[in-house]
Symmetry: C2
Subunit: 224 residues, 2 copies
DNA sequence: ATGAAACATGAATCGCCCTTCAAGTTCATC
DNA sequence: GATGAACTTGAAGGGCGATTCATGTTTCAT
């Protein structure tokens, strides 16, 4: 492929990211993409065999860029808690600059499930590596690293949805602090204090099956 | 509307939940829904003005059922940490019994954004109420309740995705324990121990702006 | 210059599906 | 057993959009 062709291909990819983000996969037409790219309809099929292919490539590329950005913004930070904070911040920044990220990735579930899982799986893989290392170093408590990775990804995803995508900016830093408050305490390797009332009822600290249920009374909710 | 009509309407709603879950909103046709319902095509438009309406109703109904189930499965539990555990468990159970939940709700983002936000907003609202109450009672640490609510929803969502939707069952209880381990420590109202190295670098415990960055060196990743 | 490989074009094909509608059926009530 | 309101039916109408293809244009090594 000549440089000229590569340029056209890139134009299509960039336009596709925007169009898919704005209208969703199904409602986005090839004509939308080529129009935005400033190329003819037929040209599309010179570079991509079908609509699904360009979509998958957009998702894979977004994931790769995001993972690289986070990895880079975390270089040289020695403590895992600080890595989490900066990684989260980098993620929020990326999401703000790419409002299509969320919408595109979520569409992937329906367009190409494999692509969708790959996105999170790769993310989790890197996460597990970093967390395991931090556990070995005694920086954080030893826990199931994959479960932890998905917890942290979930926190980032939902906070980003609520305070980056839905609301513009206000209080993002405050929200980041709140999340890190939860996370840093949750990961703190130091044993909890021996005094005071337990943080959870004694029967249900961990690995209890249905041990947490206390007496039921009226079917009136008290929470959630 | 007579009982006969209500029955037909319900058949359409139930079929729609499955069809929308299986094929996604756009690829699901009205004909698919009526076929599965055992009803004629035209009958659909007696009960719903268009395709979008039935979809929104499916989402709203799923959200309502889920919230009610969680609220009920948590009645009579006095400590918030235990409420979290049982609520999470109830959510996983619901997700297992309704594999369409995830797929349907996520489509909502593209079909009717308002409906999508309403789903999470209502969920969060109940969460905030319960968490605030628990803070007032001294059961958990005082934190931004809405940020916390979205963190907890994110954890539930991602764990459910990974260990209920993607994988069948194995280790769900173990994963639940891991999550509760993180959460119960993170919410523990008792002050952290005064001894030992800090859980996070002293400059970045909270409300620091860009205070966590230490010296940068080579752009080689160490994590994530 | 020139031929061919790479690239670009957009009208036409083909199939799908939302929605409408005119006509038939059921059923409770009087 | 007749009436009409509620319900059901499925065959078009009409629009849209992915993909194809025959044709034209650019580039560049020779």
């Amino acid at each position: 492929m000549t440089p000229r062709g590569q340029k056209t291909r890139q134009k299509l990819l960039r336009a596709a990211e925007v169009i898919f983000g704005e209208k969703g996969y199904e409602r986005a037409s090839i004509a939308d993409i080529t129009r935005k790219s400033g190329v003819a309809l037929g040209t599309f099929y010179v570079y991509f065999p079908d609509k699904q292919s360009i979509f998958v490539e957009v998702v894979d590329e977004l994931g790769e860029r995001l993972r690289r950005l986070i990895a880079e913004s975390v270089v040289g930070i020695s403590h895992r808690i600080d890595v989490e904070r900066e990684g989260l911040r980098a993620f929020f920044e990326f999401a703000r600059e790419h409002p299509n990220l969320y919408r595109v990735v979520r569409q992937a579930e329906f367009v190409d499930e494999e692509c969708y899982r790959r996105y999170y799986d790769r993310f989790a893989r890197g996460y597990v590596r970093g967390l395991t290392q931090a556990m070995d170093d005694g920086q954080i408590r030893r826990m199931d690293p994959e479960a932890l990775a998905y917890c942290l990804m979930g926190i980032g995803d939902f906070l980003g949805m609520r305070w980056v995508i839905w609301e513009e900016d206000p209080g993002l830093e405050r929200v980041l602090d709140a999340a890190m408050d939860l996370i840093s305490r949750g990961l703190d390797p130091r044993p909890p204090p021996r005094t005071g009332k337990a943080s959870t009822s004694k029967t249900a600290t961990a690995s209890s099956k249905r041990g947490a249920r206390s007496a039921r009374s009226t079917p009136r909710s008290t929470a959630s």
